[in-house]
């Protein structure tokens, strides 16, 4: 196995292909990846929870995040290998994750398949479609958890919230999308007055969870 580097004896590795050679990868090799970025799905290849949390203002350097190792079942990727075109790169079965969506004041609930969406923006758009009375408004514009849904007819604002695996009601948008999909059990679009006044969840209390 060690002799595969004979191609490259006179040269320091240049292209990624040269460096990787496809073999001899060290199972504990550190990789630099952005938090939450994973090309794969499936339990055996998840990163540990540490790197997936966005920790607000804290500026974690890449080297700290790279303390997470990849599971040994994933491969060090060689450029252009295996020879599949990019649109075929990941054809693993798409799991379905249907969750109920309740809107305060609506007579019945809806269901959405969270795996169908690739991010919060699409999910909010789906709410707009499902509950056609809503439009998305940006309060501050940048921070996702400031986006709300509004019913232009009565001027009511609705805050998207969800129940997580621990049974706690959380504000939608704090954690990376994939983590949200994994932990969300059901969704409730809560009237903003309720959310602020404390009969729902308190924005201030929320930050204690993160």
């Amino acid at each position: 196995m060690a002799s595969e580097t004979s191609c490259f004896t006179t040269e320091p590795p240049t292209a990624p292909a040269a460096a990787a050679g496809g073999l001899n990868f060290n199972d504990t090799e550190l990789t630099l990846r952005l938090p939450g970025e994973s090309r794969k799905s499936g339990a055996k290849r998840r990163f540990s929870g540490v790197t997936d949390l966005k920790l607000g203002e804290n500026d974690r350097s890449d080297t700290e995040c790279s303390g997470v190792t990849e599971s040994p079942s994933s491969k060090e990727q060689v450029v252009g290998w295996p020879p599949v075109r990019s649109h075929r790169k990941n054809m693993t079965k798409r799991d379905c994750k249907y969750v109920k969506v309740a809107v305060d004041g609506a007579p019945y609930l809806r269901k959405v398949d969270l795996e169908f969406y690739s991010g919060y923006q699409q999910l909010l758009c789906a709410f707009e479609d499902l509950f056609s009375c809503f439009t998305i408004i940006n309060v501050t514009g940048d921070v996702l958890n400031e986006r709300k849904l509004m019913d232009p007819v009565n001027g009511m604002e609705y805050v998207p919230t969800y129940e997580d695996k621990d049974g706690d009601w959380m504000l939608v948008g704090d954690v990376p999308w994939k983590m949200f999909v994994e932990s969300c059990k059901r969704i409730r679009l809560m009237k903003n007055s309720e959310a602020i006044n404390g009969s729902g969840i308190n924005h201030r209390q929320l930050y204690l969870f993160t």
């Binding site: 191609c7 073999l23 079942s73 450029v79 252009g80 295996p82 990019s86 054809m91 079965k93």
Partner: protein
């Protein structure tokens, strides 16, 4: 006594010659035949757009109606060719627009096609009928809108696996209401939603429509509407084949499919919900081609369909089919000619599915007409390869990709030389071969000795020394395309076989041991070869002669150096003042 057939007779006889190879041969017989043939050649195929320039082509063949061009090397499909390398079709379109105003067909593969090019096409050829873009990029839906709006006689618009910048879904609406000549529309590679009502109207008024391949965005609920409008379809590609199962959707779909008596080919099936698959059962026995490679569904569901496809000739699936599914194919699809099995999860070392070499062996036993194989798997053995070669000596294309580079025979831990050797020895008609796994110089000796009809060979992570490459270059008489990556092949084999390179269309070598010096020497020695070094490092001018190039692409040409090289591409061994020969 000089006598010959009158021109009209010769022309009539030549009109039966379809293959370019035959026409090329005919043109070499004598001057009269050369002249006759060139005036009546209607179709041109240029396998490497840099091998010839369009003016030469137009001067020799003035009456061409159909042009086919290929651009980037094959390994561009796997991101080995850097962005900006070339292959832009625009200069060709400019010349062709001038030289062939009555051109009807353009087929392009792996070329950069800009909106400008598409607009020029749409405005230059009054009788334009066929546009096929295969693995092309560089254009947007604006270009498609131009084609739709201006090509009044368009019959075929086929976008195969192209990368399209999608600015809007409205391009389809640019086909005028008076436009009714469409026979084939393939927009499977697009992701934006097109207006369904525009699509429905287009399908309704195109009574000659035979091929319709939708994109993922067309929901399953709408399929039956389209199928009812076009029951004459021969080739149909669904959109996303998923939704919550509803009996009315299902029954309209099943009924619509059963109305398609001429349907022979099915594809699409993105995000498939297995409960909807039985809707196609009524057409299974008619199908000759089935592409389920986007259907992430389990083997039992696949087997239920395949068990009914008794006339299937071409099957493309994911490895979800597993060995058991391939056993079903072996038993039920006795007319199978081509099998393609793609990996569902190529970057995982552990197998996620039960697909092994056994599935392929099984199909090779059961399907006596099997000619073409592309098979991705995680393990292979010499004994399996030997069995396959003995079962199917009629194989013409064998591409076997073991996902782990340099993987040995999983039973004996030996190299797979003997197995692949058996393939080339027994399959005497083999024209295309891709190998993988642990391979020494020995396999190349077998190839050089036996693979006399081999036209295209792809090698990766194989061999021990230059001797391997030398065996191939000196032994494979019919070889025209050779692509190599990550092999210890270097200067010696190249420089010992320079004249062979001129008989080939192209040679690609990346991450091998070819030096700058050897490339220069080769370029100097062979004026009709372009030896293009692709190297993205800085300071290329000061790099040592014996340093290895990152990538080299060697191709024969009558056009000299190409004028559109980016800074990371150099033609070696040519004088700098040589200009692109336009005359």
């Amino acid at each position: 006594m000089a006598y010959s057939f009158p021109e009209e007779v010769l022309e009539h006889v030549f009109s039966f010659l379809a293959s370019q190879k035959d026409r090329n041969a005919v043109s070499l017989v004598c001057k009269t035949w050369y002249e006759m043939e060139r005036w009546c050649r209607k179709r041109i195929f240029v396998g490497n757009c840099y091998a010839v320039n369009p003016r030469i082509m137009i001067r020799r063949f003035p009456e061409v109606k159909s042009v086919e061009l290929k651009g980037k090397p094959h390994f561009a499909d796997f991101n080995l060719v850097p962005e900006g390398w070339g292959g832009c079709v625009y200069p060709w379109i400019v010349e062709i627009a001038r030289g062939y105003p009555w051109l009807e067909e353009i087929r392009l593969k792996r070329m950069v096609v800009t909106d400008e090019s598409l607009e020029l096409i749409s405005k230059s050829f009054k009788n334009f009928k066929v546009l096929i873009l295969s693995s092309c990029e560089g254009f947007s839906t604006d270009g498609l809108a131009a084609i739709a709006a201006n090509c009044r006689n368009l019959r075929v618009l086929d976008l195969r696996e192209c990368e399209v910048e999608e600015l809007s879904g409205h391009w389809l609406s640019h086909f005028p209401d008076s436009f009714t000549s469409l026979e084939s529309l393939n927009m499977a590679c697009l992701s934006y939603e097109v207006s369904f009502s525009a699509l429905e109207r287009l399908v309704s008024r195109s009574s000659n429509l035979k091929t319709l391949r939708l994109n993922r965005n067309v929901p399953i609920e709408k399929l039956s509407i389209l199928l009812q409008r076009a029951p004459q379809l021969v080739d149909f590609g669904t959109g996303a084949y998923s939704s919550e199962i509803r009996s009315d959707t299902y029954s309209s779909l099943a009924e619509a499919f059963s109305g398609c008596k001429k349907l022979k080919s099915l594809s699409g099936f993105w995000d498939v919900v297995p409960a909807y698959l039985p809707a196609v059962y009524s057409v299974c026995s008619q199908l000759t081609s089935l592409n389920l490679s986007y259907a992430t569904t389990q083997s039992p569901d696949l087997s239920k369909i395949l068990g009914q496809c008794h006339n299937l000739q071409r099957l493309v699936v994911l490895d979800y089919i597993e060995d058991t599914g391939l056993d079903t194919v072996a038993m039920s699809c006795k007319d199978l000619r081509e099998l393609v099995v793609f990996p569902s999860d190529p970057f995982v070392a552990d197998a996620n599915v039960l697909l092994t070499e056994q599935g392929l062996v099984s199909v090779s036993e059961g399907c006596s007409k099997l000619q073409s194989v592309l098979y991705f798997c995680r393990q292979m053995s010499n004994s399996a390869l030997i069995s396959i070669s003995k079962n199917r000596p009629n194989l013409t294309c064998f591409r076997c990709c073991i996902l782990e580079p340099r993987a040995p025979d999983y039973l004996t831990f030996e190299p797979l030389d003997v197995g692949f050797g058996s393939i080339v020895e027994n399959c005497k008609q083999l024209t295309r071969l891709s190998m993988s796994g642990l391979l020494t110089d020995r396999v190349f000796e077998y190839i050089g000795t036996h693979a006399k009809k081999l036209d295209m060979l792809s090698i990766a992570f194989a061999g021990d020394s230059d001797l391997g490459l030398h065996h191939v270059l000196s032994g494979c008489e019919s070889l025209r395309k050779l692509e190599i990556r990550d092999c210890p092949f270097g200067d010696k084999a190249l420089l010992a076989n320079t004249s062979k390179l001129e008989t080939m269309r192209s040679l690609w070598m990346s991450s091998c041991s070819v030096s700058f010096g050897a490339c220069k020497l080769l370029g100097q020695k062979m004026p009709r070869l372009n030896v293009e070094v692709i190297d993205e490092r800085e300071n290329l001018d000061s790099i040592a002669e014996d340093a290895h190039v990152e990538k080299v692409y060697i191709y024969r040409t009558v056009s000299g150096q190409r004028p559109d090289m980016p800074d990371f591409v150099r033609t070696m061994g040519k004088d700098n003042h040589e200009v692109y020969n336009l005359s």
